[in-house]
Symmetry: C2
Subunit: 342 residues, 2 copies
């Protein structure tokens, strides 16, 4: 319990402002939110009263009445690996928060087990709080769009690998990025490029690597399976180091994987980029201060975050929902080897 003793406890309400300005509360709303014309002189009195009282609208009341809390939700996959351990997600979350705030929206950011039930539960909780829209970063499992739609709260999928019809989603051009990375390695003169990541015909980064090797007539190095984390990349790196004839070039499907690979190679005395040239994907902060710094396909995070917020706030009709794809760019650093101009 807090006593009203010390500071100016009770916050001014609309009624206080109205009284001080000598108008009704409706007029206060009109001058503050628009919705009806207000005489210039009246508006000035109201604004003055607002300033005098330091009035700030109670958002809870506003949310109750209008159904909007001026808040967005961000659901991140809470798996065995803490999401925030991944600098890519961290950076993305940060950018989303900034984009939301720029538009006057607050953000609930919460790691959630990525299974359908948990996501539905969280979405319902958000609905209960009058959250205006939710950005969902999917984890392993797949979500049934119809079930999520039925909750009645606008949502949009981030970090999308496989687009689906009828689903609003945002994602980087994974395939294009993989092509960029692989081509770059080949431009360095390597005649063989290996891959570390998810090995699946449907995975765009895998496909991009595969297609590029074939297209440019380069030997496809071994494809080593890895989850998107450091530990798994480390294991793959150990395998590479143990090979009789390690591949001279490696494309890793994420920065985290590359960091793990790097660690393993260091431990085994394999030099990057001299023995093995490495290019990764994401272009997150951590990639810049690794040793050597990683050449990586940078996802346009700010741009995607901005687009996410924009898309969720002016949600279109169901039949206009679509996937929005963003092209990444190759950031040249040291891990791919000294860059020699073509």
């Amino acid at each position: 319990m807090r006593e009203a003793a010390p500071g100016p406890q009770r916050r001014a309400t609309r009624a206080d402002v109205a009284r001080r300005a000598g108008v009704s509360d409706a007029v206060v709303t009109y001058t503050l939110n628009g919705g009806a014309p207000v005489a210039r002189a009246t508006a000035e009195r109201v604004l003055q009263a607002v300033a005098d009282l330091g009035y700030q609208p109670n958002q809870a009341a506003r949310a109750l009445k209008s159904g909007s809390a001026h808040t967005l939700g961000l659901i991140l996959p809470d798996g065995p690996d803490p999401v925030f351990e991944n600098p890519f997600f961290t950076e993305f979350a940060n950018a989303v928060e900034a984009a939301a705030r720029r538009r006057g929206y607050a953000l609930y950011m919460t790691p959630t087990p990525p299974d359908q039930t948990s996501v539905v539960t969280r979405l319902n909780d958000f609905a209960t709080r009058q959250v205006d829209g939710v950005l969902v970063v999917p984890g392993e499992g797949s979500l049934d769009p119809d079930v999520l739609d039925r909750i009645g709260i606008p949502w949009l999928q981030l970090n999308t690998v496989h687009e689906q019809v009828g689903v609003d989603s945002i994602g980087a051009d994974l395939l294009g990025g993989a092509v960029l990375a692989t081509e770059h390695l080949i431009a360095h003169g390597h005649r063989q490029v290996a891959f570390v990541g998810e090995i699946d015909e449907r995975e765009p980064r895998y496909r991009g690597w595969l297609a590029t090797c074939e297209r440019l007539g380069v030997e496809r190095g071994p494809a080593l399976p890895s989850e998107y984390n450091r530990q798994s990349g480390y294991a793959a790196g150990l395998e590479i180091a143990a090979m009789d004839r390690p591949p001279a070039a490696v494309f890793a499907a994420s920065d985290l994987i590359a960091l793990g690979v790097l660690r393993a190679l260091h431990e085994r005395g394999v030099s990057v980029p001299d023995d093995v040239a490495l290019v990764s994907f994401d272009g997150s902060w951590e990639a810049e201060y690794s040793w050597p710094a990683l050449t990586s396909v940078r996802q346009p995070i700010e741009e995607m975050a901005e687009a996410s917020v924009a898309a969720i706030l002016d949600r279109t009709a169901p039949d206009e929902r679509r996937h929005r794809m963003f092209r990444g760019e190759l950031v040249l650093r040291a891990s791919c080897g000294v860059h020699r101009p073509a």
Copy 2:
């Protein structure tokens, strides 16, 4: 549960539940929130109705009425360096969110310029949203507790370096940690230990290093100034590498600084730990996958996060406000050199 209701547009309200259970809304509140005894049979009918309707209380209404949104706020310093670039903050934020959720609270997490005005503005915004309490991670500037108190929303300071009377705060035992780190370096046999970090008589990490060198009669190596980021640590590392007689042991005041130092030493061909042994502070995720992995004083992040949430939720009287200090532990990895038993 593929066959749920065909498009539950309107969410069920308390009135709907009451009607279905054949009671008044008050009884629904009583059985859900307690506050009055309810006959067993009645309660069961209510619960059944709740289940049937999939009723979930509207949190906005609840917030308006009760003044509590069941939400906490977390203010992180938004400086020239993005906060989330610092894995320590990232990890802390993550732990706080988890701790809050465990108690049924949601979290607003928002980077804010750390000056007084910006923080006050943000605190006011939180107040209008009926946020129950705010955790503030201070940046460079100092905040006037009285001004913040006057806003009327409970707050608590995290990541505290200098405790203040009358302020609820949480922080690691920085001095103790520095002692641990320095002692460890000395135990490795080094007769000189350098410091990289904030050079200020009031900074506990600096003081801990200083005091330990003196106490153990070891030569105090050069103290190099650095802000808490990678770039600044990198600059310091370059200086170290350029010295005629580089110090054989270095204590870096944060992981980020150490990562920068590491990068610079790598570039200059100075080996860690062979030429320079390095111990840092924080023990964040990134420190584990650097090369070499960093020996670091790990802050008990989960414990501190848990304590923060607990402290803010059962806020005590002003005269009981206090600082809560948490002891870190030294995590041995590779950067300090091969560990040889005493």
